[in-house]
């Protein structure tokens, strides 16, 4: 038997039909049954529209809290003193200062202080909150020079000081424009002035320290000058031409050292040492203070002596 024939025969089963009376009887009986009789217990009522909350609550709650905090922090950045969310803004700014590296901290602190001053310029009333912010700004500005001093590398400290000086130029103008209580304004103005002068002093001091030559150079120069003062001793060990050459180098070294060119001075002293067959200079890290240098330089008899000897 082919598949077609089988299908055809199967379709003939359609003539199998239930008894018509039974069909009517069954339907009538089924429909007579009331739903109340069918249901033994009522299903629990649940809020279908929020059922997903229960299902995903473990993931939903942390996600919601995270979003809430993100939006609160973002919104807080636009607030001004007197707003309920302003403390969040100050907290964020403090965190920014705290997280800044030692080398950038003074600049970041100054910028934060400037930003807070800008906030104050946009606020009217809220005297209490404004006074509190003024105190914070005053404290911040006072910390800037101290933080510059904490920077170990002199060159970096100098760069930072210059940057701070540049950025703090408009602070005085900003302070003048602020509408504050007399006391607050005076205090702020004084702090700005103090900070600027302290930073300037730091710039000068650091520049001098950088340009200052190591003390061992002046000491070597003094020792060599003393050696050539006694010409007889020098004559025993050196020839005339060598003495003349050494004295010339000594004079040049003295001039460049006074001019602050430490490297050139070191080269000249090294050349003299080579002539005298003395070992190279031991490098000492210690630096002398400008006062010491002046004293040491003034004790040099070299220049006068060289002029007197008239070689």
């Amino acid at each position: 038997m082919q598949e077609k024939d089988i299908i055809k025969k199967i379709s003939e089963f359609k003539k199998i039909q239930p008894n018509h009376d039974w069909v009517i009887w069954l339907k009538a009986n089924i429909l007579e049954i009331k739903p109340q009789n069918i249901l033994n217990e009522k299903p629990k009522i649940r809020l279908a529209s929020f059922s997903f909350i229960n299902k995903y609550q473990k993931a939903f709650i942390p996600a919601f809290l995270s979003l809430f905090f993100i939006f609160s922090f973002a919104f807080a950045q636009t607030t001004l003193p007197g707003n309920a969310l302003y403390p969040i803004k100050t907290l964020t700014q403090d965190a920014k200062i705290y997280l800044a590296s030692e080398n950038t901290k003074p600049v970041v602190r100054l910028e934060v202080a400037k930003s807070r001053m800008e906030d104050l310029s946009k606020v009217q009333n809220h005297e209490q909150e404004v006074s509190a912010i003024v105190k914070i700004i005053t404290k911040d500005l006072g910390l800037v020079p101290q933080e510059i001093k904490k920077i170990n590398k002199k060159q970096v400290a100098l760069d930072v000081s210059k940057d701070v000086q540049e950025r703090s130029k408009d602070l005085q103008v900003m302070t003048e424009k602020l509408v504050l209580k007399e006391n607050d304004k005076e205090e702020l103005s004084k702090t700005v002035e103090n900070t600027q002068s302290q930073v300037l002093a730091l710039i000068i001091e650091t520049t001098e320290e950088i340009n200052q030559c190591p003390s061992f150079l002046s000491k070597s120069l003094v020792e060599l000058s003393e050696y050539f003062t006694n010409t007889e001793t020098a004559m025993i060990e050196l020839s005339n031409s060598e003495i003349i050459q050494a004295k010339a180098l000594l004079k040049e070294a003295s001039i460049v050292l006074k001019a602050g060119d430490c490297l050139a001075a070191m080269e000249k002293i090294e050349s003299i040492n080579q002539l005298l067959s003395i070992l190279s200079l031991d490098v000492q890290v210690e630096t002398s203070t400008p006062e010491n240098l002046d004293e040491e330089s003034s004790s040099l008899p070299l220049q006068e002596e060289l002029e007197e000897n008239d070689y």
Partner: protein
Amino acid sequence: MDKKKFSEFYDQNINKVFRFVYLRVDSTETAQDLTSLVFLKFWKTQASFVDNKINQSSKVSNPKAFLFQMARNQIIDFYRQKDKKPLSLDKLGEIADFQVAKPTFSQQIELDLEMERIKKALQFIKPLYADIIIWKYLDDLSNKEISQILKKKEGNVRVLLHRAMESLKKQLDS
């Protein structure tokens, strides 16, 4: 599904379900009992949806497929309990608050020899194959509807149908 809709649905499917059950159990009375149970359970389900004001369509996407699934399960249950006697109408009345009257619905179904042979062959092949052949060629269910009843993919249904026909042909030839 309200009474009116159920009534229409019942009229459209009672013959198909009865035929499907009859061909699988080979007894008019058993087929009637099982068909009664299938529709009764179906109405219970629908009535409970109405009572709870739950949208029925959200629960049963295809009522026809759902009905045949229930019929299939009913037949499986019947064969599992074949050592027990099939439910009598009296028992059915006890379970479902039926009005137990003795209607005169016994009917002799007559088939020719060739059809009897096919009917016997359907009872010898795998029940799943028999179900698929009946649904497809007798009850005119689409492959999609069959896939919903069996909870299989349509592609699998096509393969199963092919295997079912091969099995039936083999049974008829033997």
